[in-house]
Symmetry: C2
Subunit: 297 residues, 2 copies
């Protein structure tokens, strides 16, 4: 059986590669065709278009950047819908709007196929190592159908509810990530301004109620002023826009997330949108007029 | 050798009890005398005043609520200073202002004694079980002198810098705790408003970059609407006041911490200052007009 994989960006290429390496027959497609080369060299077949991939596969994974990209892949010219097989399943690993997800799922179901929204977390390292976490919305029997394939690139697969719930849980994840990142930024800014040794401080507090993944993993990077991205500000901001749009549709006030969105906006304007999301601390530094870490302490 | 212990509140009584249970000779004192009864029954001696305790002990622990309480115990009528032995050591486990700490340390040193600021985290359970984390500022050889006693009630003892640094690290800890708590509150509010199953959501995200102690420990309490305190809003607010005063002295902007302080202020006005600090979510619920969790899901 062929598995289709559409979208070979920093995440998709690692995921597709894991499918190929596990011995599955994979048909890939990417808008920029040259990104198919390494996969083809590893044994994948090249698709001519999303329509072509859909016409050759019962299961099609999609992993692109944003809602308009998914819409184009599904509904655009030579899109998935034009080639979709009866009984096929589309698994969308992109992080997109829950409402666009409902629209895509409806269109696919009208053709006798089905849809799972299955956004991932764990970054490019997770995609390459096969240790992603996947949050799945949709029919749980459809999830069981594709679980053996998703297992190629994920270590945690959680079914969280009906269609759209996977995307919505991913948005919750992003709220937690950025506001916890704000906590770490503000804590380290205060520590710096008060003249503390930042490493001793981090060490003294990370094991208790103050602890978080962001503190233990991004705190040391902030102290060393290492802004290499696990996840870039530009992508984070794209996800926060989805969070705030969805919250606006649903009438949910999110004061802290909205603050972080504005701070990231300032950093994008400074031209550092390609830095890691932990560069959030630079927005506070800009307000405070001093920098965190960076010296031998 | 006698060990003095002044302040038998919810934290101090557990800590003093652990000292007694380890076989040390402990002289206790508390402003409300009846709180000495259980300790006396367990084998501690009663002091007549802080002065009396100081005159009988080379090492005196203090664990009271706030800066004015420490000032009263040290400098008040029949206070520690009046009875302090040459070469004695005062260990202050209270969470108080770093600048008041410097003032107390100076006064004690003028009498030929020394001072360690050693605020704790881990709550009343930690005090009772002997698993507190202690952040110590001051002379490290003085810390070695009292480490065997502190070991009775702490599992982690970190020397973080000179006098005042322990208090300042504790304030960093509180910034992290409350802003991470805001992240959890906002994440769960969004999840609720979007109709997600809160338990599945928490389970899907807590293992990754969104994870924190607050999410894994206070998130389930929020979902169950269990507001029993690990740490009360009133005490949290006392500590945030220290954070914001210290930040103001030092000229450090803390936008998220300031927001949380205002939200807790609203909850105190509603009369729920004795609830746990995770009741922060109620402030967001008040803005949003709906509640998180509480139903069978």
């Amino acid at each position: 059986m062929n598995i289709g994989f559409i979208g070979l960006g920093i995440m998709g290429s690692g995921m597709a590669r894991n499918l190929v390496d596990k011995g599955f027959e994979v048909v890939v497609w990417n808008r920029t065709a040259s990104r198919m080369d390494p996969l083809a060299a590893a044994g994948a077949a090249r698709g001519a278009s999303p329509e072509d991939v859909a016409s050759r596969c019962d299961i099609v994974m999609v992993c692109v950047s944003d809602s308009p990209d998914v819409r184009e892949v599904v509904m655009g010219e030579r899109g998935l819908l034009e080639g979709l097989r009866e009984g096929a399943l589309v698994v969308d690993h992109s992080t997109i709007s829950p409402s666009v997800t409902l629209e895509m799922a409806e269109a696919v179901r009208a053709r006798g196929a089905d849809w799972l929204d299955a956004p991932v977390s764990g970054g490019s390292e997770g995609a390459a190592r096969g240790t992603l976490a996947v949050m799945v919305g949709g029919d749980s029997s459809q999830l069981e159908r594709v679980r053996p394939f998703i297992d190629s690139y994920a270590s945690t697969i959680g079914h969280v509810g009906p269609t759209g719930a996977g995307q919505t849980v991913k948005l919750v994840n992003q709220i937690l990530v950025v506001v916890t990142g704000l906590a770490v930024s503000e804590g380290l800014l205060f520590a710096q301004g008060a003249g503390l040794d930042l490493r001793s401080t981090l060490c003294a507090v990370e094991g208790g109620a103050a602890g978080s993944w962001m503190l233990s993993n991004r705190g040391p990077q902030m102290i060393e002023r290492d802004w290499r991205p696990g996840f870039t500000i530009d992508l984070q901001q794209k996800d926060l826009r989805l969070v705030l749009e969805t919250a606006d549709e649903l009438g949910i006030p999110l004061p802290a997330t909205a603050l972080v969105f504005q701070l990231y906006r300032a950093l994008q304007r400074q031209g550092i949108g390609s830095e890691g999301n932990h560069a959030l601390v630079k927005a506070l530094e800009g307000i405070a007029g001093f920098e965190v870490g960076g010296r031998a302490e």
